[in-house]
Amino acid sequence: MFKSLTKNDKYAHYGFLFVLPFFIIMAIFIIYPILNTIYLSFTVWEGATIPPKWVGLQNYLRLFKEIKEGGIFLQSIKNTWILWICNVIPQFVGALALAVLLTDKHNKIKGKEFFRAIFYLPNIITMASIAALFSFLLGWPHGAINDILVGLNILKEPFYFLQNVWATRLSISTILTWMWFGYTMIIFMAGIKAIPEELFEAARVDGASKWQTFKSVTLPQLRSIMTYQVVTSIIGGLSMYDLPQVLTNGTGAPLNSVTTMVMYIYRQGFSNYSLGYASAVAIGLFLHILVVVAIFLKFINKKEDY
């Protein structure tokens, strides 16, 4: 990576100078806030001018109590997982199928670029706008979705989606799938394109069927890119906030059934001004993500040994 030029130590200090501004900003706005959140999680702090007061493990004891007694924190963990899983499975399966379809060399699809762009479109629109938009589309009695379903005789009468626990959850998951399948598809397409052509040729010479080729060439070759995708999706999914927050005006209604962990942090921190407790929730969420990712990677690596 470092070639002849970099051996020339005469200039090395310039490199340090060049990366310095980046790291000053990073230290102030990324690293310090993380350490600060850890510190604040051991305090009671009501914000504004009153300084935080050290209380040791009190916030964490409250967290465990909430988990044990089934408080909203436990509920928010469950909700976040439900929303993520119901979205990620159809999203990945659909994205993979579409990626295979659109990269197929023997059946060139016309307008590939167009489809790729339009499938990706929902992903770049502001999530707050999407949430507001769907709160009207899912409206009752006259949202577009009710109008269509009743018009097609799928429903007899308008259904109040956002007052039913599972309808709200599945609506959010479906919107997330709709927003992200194009993004995931693009990444899988890039991954498939990077697979050496000889592997497909060899499979063809061996007379492998479409499905066999997919199973024994495409899928194993996509392994690292899929692992990466799952990890980033876990991290992003478990820090979900914008969509359920705006769709339910921050209430997580009905009955906190879509209150996510980050929504809970925001509510505790900036509605209840229990910033110390909110920090403890954030650290809890961080450890949660860390453990999940570690287990997932361990599981993946174990499978690789076969």
Binding site: F22, F29, I31, P33, Y39, H106, W178, R204, Y241, L275
Partner: protein, 285 residues
């Protein structure tokens, strides 16, 4: 689905049918991707009575009336200006300092080069939502609450930007060019400003656009930093509009449509570059 085996069967008719099904499916999916935005834009041109009666497929005549009603409560143009200040200035600063950082990592073997680069890679894995309370505290201590700088400055520390531009410079900037510039007497900063920046510009454009969009769409952090309405960005205004116009669908639709249309237009022009940014981030996997 339809390819290899179908090809072997040599039946042009069969190919035809499978292809038609395939295209109908793809076009249907494309419509699903666009339809919600279409309904929102159409609703923004109707009054509440028309919206309440059922689905509208064609534009109505209440565009201006809805716009006037919306403007009474929300200054969306102010929101656009705020969003542009935050995302625009932030992206410009990132373009300069981020490239400077990428160049530093790419071409100078200073002490701690590898360690610091590793720190950057790790920071990509930590979602900013988690340290939001600590961030709020820092912003407050720096007296940057209700100040756009609290959102602009952190944009400089974009790990993806540095990662990708560095890869680009590793490949596109030969050491010999820098050597010969030095022999000609150019200063290190001069080399960066006059040679490295232009050479890196394709990667800067790709990642710059990616970061601009990311910043534009942020909700949580701006919500915490910008409490004054006159400073708030478009996503916050849209999130609030939903509450303000609880029953006034027409006015709210107008606000939402206005927040979406500029992105649709920008995407129509830059979709290739934007998608290039997505792919750029993926290849590292």
């Amino acid at each position: 689905m339809s390819t290899l085996t179908v090809r072997k069967s040599r039946s042009p008719f069969k190919i035809g049918i499978l292809d038609i099904i395939l295209y109908i499916f793809l076009i249907g999916l494309a419509i699903v991707c666009f339809l919600p935005f279409y309904f929102m834009i159409i609703n923004a041109t109707h009054n509440n009575a028309a919206i309440a009666q059922g689905l509208n497929f064609l534009p109505g005549k209440y565009t201006w009336a809805n716009y006037t009603k919306m403007s009474e409560r929300i200054n969306i143009w102010r929101g656009f200006l705020n969003s542009f200040i935050v995302s625009g200035v932030g992206t410009a600063l990132l373009a300069y300092f981020g490239t400077l950082t990428a160049y530093g990592f790419s071409k100078y073997k200073f002490l701690g080069n590898k360690t610091l680069f590793w720190v950057i890679l790790c920071s990509m894995m930590i979602p900013p939502q988690l340290s939001v309370i600590g961030f709020y505290d820092v912003v407050q201590k720096l007296k940057l609450l209700n100040n756009h700088l609290a959102l602009i400055l952190p944009m400089i520390a974009s790990a993806q930007f540095v990662y990708f531009v560095r890869l680009y410079l590793d490949a596109a900037l030969p050491d010999s060019i820098i050597e010969s510039a030095r022999i000609d007497g150019a200063s290190e900063f001069g080399i960066f400003n006059r040679m490295v920046l232009p050479i890196a510009s394709p990667s800067i454009a790709t990642m710059g656009m990616f970061n601009f969009i990311n910043s534009w769409n942020q909700l949580l952090v701006p919500q915490i930093v910008l409490r004054k309405e006159a400073l708030q960005t478009v996503p916050i205004l849209v999130a609030n509009a939903k509450g303000i116009y609880r029953t006034d669908y027409a006015a709210a639709s107008m606000a939402i449509a206005l927040s979406v249309v500029p992105i649709l237009i920008a995407f129509a022009f830059f979709s290739k570059r934007i998608i290039g940014g997505v792919t750029a981030g993926a290849v590292k996997g």
